[in-house]
């Protein structure tokens, strides 16, 4: 991989220090078993619960297959105690495969945000208003030469779009959760996710929409 290119990505990014203002934010990360959606879910929820000092719960759904099959991580982030740990109306839905799109698309709140990996998702229901599209898996290959970090790039983008947690907390959480040998790669993947959103100029505010 080209380190110089990576450092360029790492540099800039002006973002608001504040995180979301929301009593209960529901994020669902979905894809195929093995794409790292559950790991991404743990990273996000841990960033909120440990580093942002919020309440957070993560639950998972997956099939009996050893790999493949639709898989999702449901993360609830709240300022208060979380009773029901599953989603009731998903505010933010990440889909990394067409199967996940077809299976979980209907869970998204009408005002919610759909984040799509264009690499694999071609068919997006026309009734979804807020869609952010980017080929995360292709980008992972192009920028970092490793498809395994597609999940963290996508997670970086989700956090950049939603401010579900602070950037610092996300980075701390990534460093704590991913295997040691890919720490540097994943750290860069977060920045790549942020950069994709920055470059797009896309804006979405969960507060305005609810």
């Amino acid at each position: 991989m080209n380190i110089l290119k990576l450092l360029k990505i790492r540099k800039k990014s002006k973002e608001l220090a504040s995180t979301y203002v929301f009593s209960r934010l529901e994020v669902t990360l979905s894809g195929s078993g093995g794409q790292g959606m559950i790991l991404a879910g743990k990273i996000l929820a841990e960033a909120a619960a440990i580093f942002d000092g919020k309440e957070a719960v993560m639950t998972q759904s997956y099939g009996p297959e050893a790999r493949g099959g639709a898989s999702k991580a449901e993360i609830i982030i709240s300022d208060g105690k979380i009773d029901y740990p599953k989603s009731m109306r998903v505010n933010v839905l990440l889909v990394m495969t067409q199967e996940a799109m077809d299976k979980y698309g209907k869970l998204l709140d009408p005002n919610g945000l759909l984040v799509v990996d264009e690499t694999f998702v071609k068919d997006i229901p026309s009734n979804i208003k807020n869609v952010f599209k980017s080929p995360f898996s292709k980008m992972a290959m192009k920028i970092l030469d490793a498809t395994i970090v597609a999940n963290v790039i996508a997670l970086g983008a989700v956090v950049a779009l939603t401010k579900a947690v602070s950037r610092e907390s996300l980075i701390k959480s990534v460093l704590r959760r991913v295997p040691k040998k890919v720490v540097v790669l994943d750290r860069m993947a977060v920045d790549a996710g942020y950069k994709i959103v920055d470059d797009s100029g896309f804006k979405w505010s969960c507060n305005e929409n609810t």
């Binding site: 879910g41 743990k42 929820a45 841990e46 619960a49 440990i50 309440e55 957070a56 719960v57 993560m58 639950t59 998972q60 759904s61 997956y62 099939g63 009996p64 009773d83 029901y84 740990p85 599953k86 009731m88």
Partner: protein, 374 residues
Amino acid sequence: MKFIQGNVACAEAAVAAGVRFFAGYPITPSSEIAEVLSRKLPRVGGKFLQMEDEIAGIGAILGASLAGKKVLTATSGPGFSLKQELLGFAALCEIPCVIVNVQRGGPSTGLPTSPAQSDVMQARWGTHGDHPIIVLSPSSVKETYDLTVRAVNLSESLRTPVILLTDEIVGHMYERIEFPKKGALKLTERPKPEKDPNKKYLPFDTDSPADIPRIANFGEGFRFHVTGLVHDLDGFPVNVPDKNEALLFRLHEKINARRKDICMVDRHRLEDASVVLCSYGATSRSCDQVVKEARAKGVKVGSIGLKTVWPFPDFVFDELGKNVETVIVCEMNMGQIVREVERAAKGRFKIEGVNSVRGTMLTPMEIFEKVKKC
């Protein structure tokens, strides 16, 4: 401060509670308990054995328990079925042990990765014969930790098998938890015999029917017998009506006499409730959400969360006030505990059920729909 799943909390709590022997066979959605203990136990001088199947798993822990170790095994529905025979052996021979069942959809291989609460009656009556049992059911990661410690303590102090009945939701749910400081946990030990050269050692003798027998650990110098046959005070088989009855009565009495202490119940907003939601395990979380939302709308709903499912806390329903009109029992099965509630209610309230066997959690919405109809 940790951010871990229920299964990991269970394994951590087991080690903290003094468990030093695990034998079992991994099965979804319980495997993380074995995985974590396989790493942790050897580091604290314990033993981890992966056996050829679930039957061997419980067999090995019963042997280790008789030899004096605090023991635990973990499984899910299919494995729990296999363990039933030796569970009865543990109950009759008064062998302390903890069996964790992280419930998944059944029957048979069922839904390996989806939650259910359909083993509640199996936990009570899965093994044959009249036997007492303690079954605890946590609804959060923190509660999984606390109830695992409690399960180990109860099994040791009462010399009885204790079942920790969790489910795929709680087992795989990640939440924040702070472990108690070292030494902060209250641990209980099994009663030990004293050596008296003038008296014959009677391992199953007690001063009163509610007492716990002072059964020696194997290898500590006492000679006695352990059998699955109904036995006399010395442990050897017997078939004398009075003695048979005395043993069975004593087995039940040691649990019944401590029912109020064993039964842990969360009561929430019952003071003026006209509708009470009753649940246990993960489903308690759906009910808590309903109480919160219903109260915000001015609907008088309260909840009862059973942390101890067996022995069944009948007294909780005796204590409900006149304001209560309906009790709605919410469970991820076709309706198992609802029968116990009906029995305990003695016709004082209308009893309804909200059930799910689709392999997903009961939603607050569907429970609230039922509340609205009351």
